[in-house]
């Protein structure tokens, strides 16, 4: 009798426990511990917190005495790069011992290097070596191409060159993207960003080819940051100039290298024929990507006299650079 009562009470306890427990988690106000209550359906929505890049980006202190543009002409890319960077203060102005450096080339398409649709792998390698020699603890090379990443990095030669020069190559995988917040941006205030290569990075250097572009007329160092984004990039073309101005706001680099070793002067940004490419024999280094790109427009694309594409003015309005490169201090060096 006693045992029977005990068994009954246990059973009753289980019934009451399950009922009360289920009642609590589904009905208790949403602030209470263990409550799952969600009367309006808002509670179940994902709320990803955006990441932010450092306030001033990755820029070093500005200088009033050094030239803003270093332009090196010649054929020896290593020496040219060094000369161009020396002109704006030398690599040690930018890279300190222990820095973790991200080098961002343009590897958007699966094209071999001579077709000029991607950053010259030899320039990428020279830049990696330069950072290494300056004491960088780690150099990373990353891009999120339009076409298949593995194919683009292999065909362009950037992967092999970057690895051989002593850097690590980051190709995008689904888990590599996080929401980035860029306050003040018109279109990409919150946008998926290729985050993994940025973890722990202290310096960022862009290295972009000089390319004609079907829509925005010219793709150089500023548009190059496009490759750091994920998500629905194919909407960008609806306001490409606004997007490029946003990109300039999103990423403030340590410095940029405009790779004018080749110039894709028509059929950009994909090209595909050697007839679309001419030798540029020029490398430009600058802390101002607008100045570098404007120089590329006048001197390398040889469109001097034609008005600059609208994104220059939009970015300059935000104080992100000076497209009037003739007013800035330029040092030009002939190498070899």
């Amino acid at each position: 009798m006693n045992e029977n009562r005990r068994r009954f009470l246990k059973q009753l306890g289980t019934v009451a426990g399950i009922s009360l427990g289920a009642g609590y988690v589904s009905l208790a106000p949403s602030g209470w511990p263990l409550s799952l209550s969600d009367p309006d359906g808002e509670g179940g929505k994902p709320r990803e917190k955006g990441l932010r890049l450092p306030e001033n980006g990755f820029a070093v202190d500005p200088s009033n005495v050094l030239p803003l543009l270093g332009v090196a002409r010649g054929a020896d890319l290593d020496a040219m790069l060094k000369a161009a960077v020396d002109a704006i203060g030398g690599i040690r102005r930018f890279i300190r011992t222990g820095d973790v450096v991200l080098v961002k080339p343009n590897v958007a398409f699966e094209r071999s290097a001579p077709l000029g649709a991607t950053s010259n792998p030899d320039v990428v390698a020279a830049l990696v070596r330069l950072c290494r020699e300056a004491g960088a603890a780690e150099v990373r090379v990353a891009d999120n191409p339009i076409e298949s990443p593995a194919a683009c990095f292999a065909r362009s030669g950037v992967q092999r060159a970057a690895i051989d020069a002593g850097s690590e190559v980051y190709l995008p995988t689904p888990s590599d993207f996080r929401l980035l917040e860029t306050p003040g941006a018109t279109h990409i205030a919150r946008w998926p960003f290729f985050w993994r290569p940025f973890a722990g990075v202290t310096k960022v250097i862009g290295v972009a080819p000089v390319k004609d572009h079907n829509l925005c007329r010219a793709s150089m160092t500023t548009k190059n940051w496009y490759g750091l984004l994920g998500g629905r990039r194919n909407q960008f073309h609806q306001d490409i100039h606004g997007i490029i101005a946003d990109l300039a706001l999103m990423l403030r680099p340590t410095f940029v290298v405009l790779d004018g070793s080749r110039v894709l002067w028509r059929s950009g940004p994909t090209g595909g024929s050697l007839a679309d490419v001419r030798e540029g024999r020029t490398l430009v280094a600058s802390t101002d990507s607008l100045a570098a790109d404007a120089f590329g427009w006048d001197d390398l694309l040889e469109r001097k006299g034609e008005p600059l594409p609208a994104y220059f003015a939009k970015a300059a309005e935000r104080g992100l650079g000076n497209p009037d490169w003739k007013l800035t201090n330029v040092r030009e060096i002939q190498v070899g």
Binding site: E3, A151, L171, T173, P174, N214, H237, G271
Partner: protein
């Protein structure tokens, strides 16, 4: 009744959990053989072989990727599958590229029987491991489950129908061939699932997990049409082991049936010594093939797993060269009276039958399968989807594919091409696109990916030449192929009603930007336009130059109207077909 725990050694106060003490047992076996003979038992060697081949199978799928395919024979298992070689020889009258490698499996089968099934077949291993892992049966129940059943004839009927259809030019062995089936299942379901898990681990901070990814450097997770169905099939087929051990291998496997037919000539088989056998049936306990080792061994069913030899308490079973097919005439005396002797030794077993040579399929039933195959061919081929007259506009084949009728003679639906495709554009065809005959064959879906310009990997891994080995020069129409021109997969079309510049006063032209041909196959009519709200915009309205379009589909993939793109590719204009050319000037002269 009492709720108090009963005291046991594990709960004894002052004592932790007692670990069993382990000491190596180095004593010799009862028969005098040394201790290590126990470890080197033939069944252990068999397990090692199965593990090796399963590992090799997974490894070869892992290297089936742009950055890893450095001369590895990625499709080795498919190319060594003699059913693939034999059936494609029936359908095409040729033996493509590496398919002669089927001899590596054919010859051992003719010597030893179906060793492949239990020593190398990765699908067989999967079934055996499942049965072993989830076994809840008593030994008695296992013995009953491992007896031969007439149901096991099914695989021979399937084989017969599939081979007759192949002879007519419809190759359907890939629906059930275990290697094709398993490669397809890995490609479409298991690899994406494993990569999903690995990526989650990597996102949690275990970064080394990402180096194990089957498909590294893909910005988005890979998706496959009808993956749920392929996944449901493997769960069902593997789950069937819980009801009938080795269900697939015994009942459905056409490769097993093919090897079973060949096994009738095998020189070796399991032989039962009737002077030792006590008819205890313990040999059935672990019999994988349900081949009746306790009586007349069914040569065509035996997987040569050697479990029976291991389990026999009397050592009555041996694997022997050239055993006698019948011993009844050599036995003296009467089995019934217990006076029978064989070679001077008393016969203990009551059963003197020792061998059933051929598959248990009566001749009239073979005839039925032949008739069924003959009839099934027109049933399938005159389905509109695969017929020349009704071929689906979305059945866009990979570059290098032979024309559709030849394609259906060759494609085994293994989906290796889909596995290696870097952009995920290759998808297993659904019934709605390709009918039953083309089910799971590769088609391009440009809402998922696009055909990478300089990539010919699918043609590299195709074991049967449905996608002929194609160089980049041939694909792009360069050098010696300039006359023939590039391989065209189809042609892109604009839907002006959905296109942003054409229909919505909004700038765009992503399609022109990404078009990879030189010169671009997409041009624009440029127009400065005053919008409804008074703003001035420059609209670059795109149009197609069909003689330049190769149908790669990157325009469709990148079109911002993502759900139903404003530029889309259909199969018309594909260069592999004379029936579906588009332009008069593009017509082949042959």
């Amino acid at each position: 009744m009492s709720a108090a725990p009963s005291p046991g050694p594990a709960h004894a106060p002052g004592k932790g959990l007692a670990l069993p003490s382990w000491k190596p047992n180095l004593a010799p076996n009862p028969d005098g053989s040394p201790w290590w003979a126990r470890a080197f038992r033939i069944t252990n060697i068999r397990i090692a072989s199965q593990a090796f081949f399963f590992g090799l199978f997974v490894f070869l799928l892992w290297v089936t990727w742009l950055s890893r395919l450095k001369g590895y024979p990625a499709s080795l298992f498919l190319e060594m599958d003699p059913l693939v070689g034999f059936a494609t020889a029936l359908s095409t009258h040729t033996v493509y590229r590496h398919l002669w490698w089927g001899l590596f499996l054919l010859v051992p089968t003719l010597l030893l029987g179906r060793v492949f099934c239990n020593w190398a077949c990765p699908y067989g291993t999967l079934h055996q491991v499942t049965g072993w892992l989830f076994n809840i049966r008593s030994n008695k129940s296992r013995i009953e489950k491992n007896r031969y059943r007439p149901l096991f004839q099914t695989k021979y009927y399937l084989l017969g129908v599939l081979l007759v259809m192949a002879a007519f030019g419809s190759l359907q062995i890939g629906l059930l061939d275990p290697i094709c089936l398993l490669v397809r299942t890995f490609t479409v379901t298991i690899i994406p699932a494993v990569d999903w898990g690995l990526a989650s681990l990597a996102a949690q901070g275990l970064t080394s997990a990402s180096s194990l990814l089957f498909k590294p450097a893909t910005p988005e997770p890979r998706v496959f049409a009808g993956a749920w169905f392929v996944g449901a099939l493997i769960l069902g087929l593997v789950g069937a082991n819980l009801f009938i051990p080795r269900f697939f291998c015994r009942v459905l496997c056409p490769l097993g049936a093919f090897l079973g037919v060949l096994s009738r000539w095998a020189l070796f088989r399991i032989d039962r010594d009737v002077t030792k056998c006590t008819d205890c049936d313990l040999c059935l306990k672990g019999c994988e093939g349900a081949s009746d080792p306790q009586g007349a061994l069914r040569k065509s069913e035996c997987f040569v797993c050697f479990n029976c030899i291991d389990d026999c308490p009397e050592d009555a079973l041996t694997f022997r060269l050239n055993p006698l097919p019948s011993i009844a005439q050599l036995v003296k005396g009467s089995v019934k009276d217990g006076t029978a002797t064989l070679g001077g030794l008393p016969v203990i077993s009551k059963n003197l039958a020792v061998e059933v040579k051929a598959p248990d399929v009566p001749r009239r039933r073979w005839l039925f399968t032949a008739v069924a195959g003959v009839v099934a061919f027109p049933f399938l081929r005159f389905s509109k989807d695969v017929n020349k007259r009704g071929f689906h506009h979305k059945a866009i084949r990979p570059p290098g594919s032979v024309a559709e009728p030849e394609f259906l003679e060759r494609c085994i639906k293994c989906d290796q091409c889909i596995n290696v495709c870097p952009t995920n554009v290759l998808q297993p065809a659904k019934l709605a696109v390709a009918g039953l005959e083309g089910l799971w064959t590769p088609v391009m879906d440009f809402s998922v990916g696009f055909c990478q310009l300089n990539c010919t990997l699918c043609s590299e891994v195709c074991p049967t030449g449905a996608i002929q080995k194609t160089s980049v020069e041939k694909k792009l129409g360069l050098g010696a192929y300039a006359e023939a021109g590039p391989v065209r997969l189809g042609t892109a079309f604009f839907d002006r009603g959905r296109c942003l510049p054409w229909a919505m006063e909004t700038p765009c032209v992503v399609c022109e930007e990404v078009c990879p041909t030189t010169p671009k196959a997409i041009g624009t009519y440029d127009e400065v336009f005053t919008r409804w709200d008074g703003k001035t915009v420059t609209l670059n309205k795109p149009y197609m130059r069909p003689e330049l379009c190769i149908g790669c589909g990157i325009c469709q993939k990148e079109c911002p109207v993502v759900d139903d793109a404003a530029v889309y590719v259909t199969a018309i204009g594909e260069s592999r077909s004379d029936d579906r050319t588009l332009l008069l000037s593009g017509k082949k002269t042959t």
